[in-house]
């Protein structure tokens, strides 16, 4: 087995928490399967598939979403469907957080959502489609130079329920209370190594620790902006427990929030890390979920559903 350069510290860290370290490390050197989603704001799934088939592009529906597909073809980006915004190329695990809000949308189709870290807008546009252009998504990103790409994607996909704002979410001043919040936090991106090897060459534990501090600050501010009874989805594309379980554990210790169990029919989710270094995480943290790349041939991911209790119910 060829191992490309995986730092020794990285190996030690994750050998301790993954079920099958050899399979895990090996998976990191394999390219990621290509995936896309049909944009139901502008197109119909069956028609798109029929046309792709006509080009000789094979597309397999994943078990857990009607709109999500994997394909062996590297031509999806050169199709009329891509030009028209009928399909959007997006990694599979990146599609999970918006799906966590499906039930909430059903109960309240006109809800208000904050997408706290939205650029380039993959999850924003997906959520916009799940909401069928109803309600309101406030799409925020702190990076001014990444706003252009959100704008481009919103226009191309036909989103009419999204407003773009530019704040450091930690200091976002608003008196709005959101029904739902997506916090797809900036992270050390270890779960994207299959797509981008550079992640490993600049990998270091110091950055993990400092990012974790930033994430705790962000999740705290986001929780304040969530209305009582509302749902926040916290996600990262990294393996580091400091940025995942550690952040959720922190919020549990600082607030009245409750975690909700995550189920995605048809996708193998894994349990969380129970303890890390000298910290044993609160038992509620176990309701969050991890996706390991060697289980379903995806990128790596962490996702947690965080509920703010209704007033007077804690």
């Amino acid at each position: 087995m060829v191992h490309f350069n995986i730092p020794q510290r990285f190996r030690e860290r994750y050998a301790a928490i993954v079920d099958d370290p050899e399979a895990f490390f090996a998976s990191l050197s394999r390219p990621l399967p290509k995936a896309f989603r049909v944009n139901t704001l502008k197109a119909d799934v069956d028609k798109v598939l029929e046309r792709l088939q006509g080009y000789g592009i094979e597309a397999m529906n994943v078990a857990w979403s009607d709109d999500a597909f994997v394909t062996p073809s590297d031509k999806t980006g050169a199709t009329l469907e891509h030009f028209m915004g009928h399909i959007y190329i997006q990694e599979l695990v990146s599609m999970l957080p918006p799906l966590m809000l499906k039930e909430e949308i059903k109960a309240n189709p006109d809800m208000t959502v904050l997408d706290a870290c939205a650029a380039p807008g993959s999850k924003t546009t997906q959520l916009s489609a799940l909401m069928k252009n109803r309600g309101l998504i406030v799409a925020n990103d702190a990076a001014f130079n990444r706003l252009k790409i959100i704008k481009h994607n919103l226009e191309k996909l036909g989103c009419m329920n999204v407003a773009v704002v530019n704040h450091d979410i930690r200091f976002f001043k608003t008196d709005m209370q959101f029904d739902c919040i997506l916090l797809d936090a900036p992270c050390s991106s270890e779960g994207t190594i299959r797509k981008n090897r550079e992640v490993l060459s600049r990998w270091n534990e110091k950055e993990i620790i400092s990012t974790s501090g930033l994430q705790k600050h962000m999740i705290t501010r986001c929780y304040e902006m969530l209305r009582p009874g509302g749902l926040m989805v916290y996600s990262t594309c990294t393996f580091a427990p400091e940025e995942n379980e550690g952040v959720v554990d922190y919020l549990l210790s600082k607030s009245d929030c409750k975690l909700e169990r995550i189920e995605v029919k048809g996708l193998k989710l894994s349990g969380t890390v129970k303890a890390w270094k000298d910290r044993t995480f609160a038992s509620d943290v176990a309701k969050a979920a991890r996706v390991w790349p060697h289980h379903s041939d995806t990128g790596g991911f962490f996702v947690a559903k965080i509920r703010k209790p209704k007033e007077g119910m804690s």
Binding site: K75, L80, V162, V165
Partner: protein, 153 residues
Amino acid sequence: MKLAPIRPKEAEAMLEFMENRFGIPRNAFEGLEFMDNGKGKIFAMNERNAVFCNRNNIMSASLPFMRFDGATKPTSMMIQMFGARATKGIVHVDRNKAKDYMAGFDIMAKENACSDGYVIIKYNGFPLGCGLLRNGDIKNQLPKAKRMPVELI
């Protein structure tokens, strides 16, 4: 920026233009609000979004709908969304011309039934975007960021 609702008279004129030039019926835009950025650019969005964009400082809005400041120019993104309902003001193109158009080139359309002005470029049922027809030549109106080479059509 903040967006302001356009005046009813302007909304009326815009809808009339859509009807007269493209045959797109008014009910195609039901439930949408039209908002002005103060520079003659009109955006279409749902009501919740319109209220937010009116009260808060936003960086960008979607969907850009048309220019309406003396010039009356539909956006390509609006055409992709609503152009399927058009019955006129359409220039049908073949494969090669469609590819040229998507890549950002101007195209020739000697034979078409449209009067000069903005037209919908349509290929095989797909409204690709906006063109400006003048004497049988169509100037490409796709925004730069939306242009791309397309192989499979």
